[in-house]
Amino acid sequence: MDVIQVEQLVKCFGNLAAVDDISFEVRSGEVFGFLGPNGAGKSTTISILCTLVPLTSGRVLVNGFDVVHQPSEVRHSIGIVFQDPSLDIQLTALENLDFAAYLYDVPAAVGREREEQLLRMVGLWDRRDDLVSAFSGGMRRRLEIARGLLHRPAVLFLDEPTVGLDPQTRVLIWHYVLEQRQRDNLTIFLTTHYLDEAEYCDRIAIIDRGKIIALDTPAHLKSRVGGDVITLRSSEPRRAVDEIKEHFGLTASSQDDCLRVVVQHGDEFIPRLCRELTVPIGAVDLTRPTLDDVFLALTGREIREGGPAGPGVMEQAGSGVARRP
């Protein structure tokens, strides 16, 4: 069953189409990722799905309810963790949850029980009576996740849920979210531009300039890039390039004493490579393609615009990875 159905969704701001005719479905119980650079249309789409922003045209059903005609039912069906903080920092952790429980009409008795269960899960039960203003960014985010789950939504929206958090907290947050998913068959819809985070997804839609340019499992998306990257160091790089060409029919690129080769099943290739090369080899390294590489292969651009390009990714692109127009 599809818990989210989006058909030919368009959202225009003036003449600009922020979301340009996208269609997709999200299955019940799935972790669905929306991946793309800032300004690609991720947040606009999520705002439409959450009934915060009216759509220009198209149809969107969430949990079977139409976002235009049944916003109240949609709102009961979803929980949201916004990109920006949305807690009342002058209230305590528990008061923030009480507020949400009341807004979402969670019966008081059930609410108490869930509040305790969720606060224990995110490790804030002992801090329940502390003002949120005393909480760190990671604690606040954890509390927001507890709040988003309080009314047992069918879909939990996470809009860039771990931006600005330390790696440890990011792992923790994913742990809670995935735990809830198993327990309640919760569907998770997240937007991110952290590629390592997208790996938690069952399926990923890559969005760029308002359009979905790919939608697949992370594994399938990666397989589009062409293969694994093997880096080896040799004191005689030029001879090594020749030998690789001769033995395996592969073109290696070299820079100083480093060589790079792109192959399928790199893990199985390394033993053969070491066996058959006669040149001295100093070190061998295997890199699996990341979603970074996928995005680059699909768009020809880095996902984090403005950031320094990783050397590995750049060279790999230069070494003949197929690009889609």
């Binding site: 705002s47 959450c50 009934t51 915060l52 922003v53 005609h69 049944q70 916003p71 109240s72 039912e73 709102r75 009961h76 949201i80 916004f82 920006d84 903080p85 949305s86 807690l87 009342d88 920092i89 002058q90 209230l91 008061e95 507020f99 949400a100 009341y102 807004l103 979402y104 009409d105 709040r147």
Partner: protein, 277 residues
């Protein structure tokens, strides 16, 4: 969409409750908020009372002194200021993201607007009550009927002025912007309301401006019940009461005008809340 009045009442209640809870949590502010009324009553009131006594006097509707005349005006001032400034919490909520959590919840936008107005009104009435506690300072004997009458009047004035504040706040995105607009708004509303001087013997141009100020009708009603309870005759009070088109307004008419103004502002606020994203 299924209309659910229960969901809306829930929204009104919880929004109101949160505002009051936050207000109560910051109750240390109560003491500092006493400063302005005390200054007005003791320094301004006493000073001008003496000056008026020395000069030809002036008509204060049978009040024993200018300070007695001023007192209900200062109650109105406390209510007016607190009402309009309470709307700052809406801008604050927007700037700090909390408003989104409310806007995406399954309660209607108008219930959020009404909850906000009631929350601000409650705070304003509370501040007004604190000024009521100063009554002995100006020698005003408080009675239960007077307190009840003033509570009702303070609430209606607060409701009208908070609705105005919330309507303004729903259109303004930054705290700085709100501060600028509200400061432009609040001082004229205060000065034109008749809180400081009788509106009976002023030039025509000023008369027109004062009648356009909704706070005028709240201050007028507050002053009448105070003066009547301190022994001024209805005739004396009528000489300084607000007139509209040559007709002295009754307290009920004052209230009617305030309520009408409040409803218009509330509708505007609800309409603008509907458009928030």
């Amino acid at each position: 969409m299924i209309y659910s009045p229960r969901a809306d009442l829930r929204g009104v209640y919880i929004i109101w409750y949160r505002d009051v809870l936050r207000f109560w949590r910051n109750r240390s502010r109560f003491l500092s908020s006493l400063g302005q009324p005390v200054l007005f009553l003791l320094v301004f009131g006493t000073g001008l009372s003496a000056a008026f006594r020395g000069a030809s006097g002036g008509n204060f509707g049978g009040a024993e002194s200018y300070a007695d005349f001023l007192y209900p005006g200062i109650v109105g001032m406390a209510v007016l200021f607190t009402s309009v400034f309470s709307a700052m919490s809406t801008v604050w909520d927007r700037e700090f993201g909390f408003l989104r959590e409310v806007l995406v919840a399954p309660v209607s936008r108008w219930s959020v607007a009404v909850g906000k107005v009631l929350g601000g009104s409650t705070q304003a009435v509370f501040q007004g009550c604190i000024v009521l506690l100063l009554a002995p300072l100006v020698g005003l004997p408080l009675s239960v009927p007077l307190i009840l009458q003033m509570l009702v009047l303070m609430f209606v004035l607060a409701f009208a002025m908070t609705s105005l504040g919330i309507a303004v706040a729903s259109r303004i995105k930054t705290l700085e912007g709100f501060g600028v607009v509200v400061n432009l708004l609040v001082m004229p509303l205060f000065f034109l309301s008749g809180a400081l001087f009788p509106l009976s013997a002023i030039p025509a141009w000023l008369t027109v401006l004062t009648r356009l100020d909704p706070a005028t009708y709240g201050v007028d009603a507050l002053r009448r019940v105070v003066l009547l309870s301190t022994g001024s005759s209805p005739q004396e009070v009528a000489t300084i009461s607000v007139t509209l088109f040559g007709h002295v307004l009754t307290i009920w008419q004052d209230l009617l005008i305030l309520v009408a103004f409040a409803l218009v502002m509330l509708l505007l606020a609800a309409h603008w809340f509907e458009k928030l994203q």
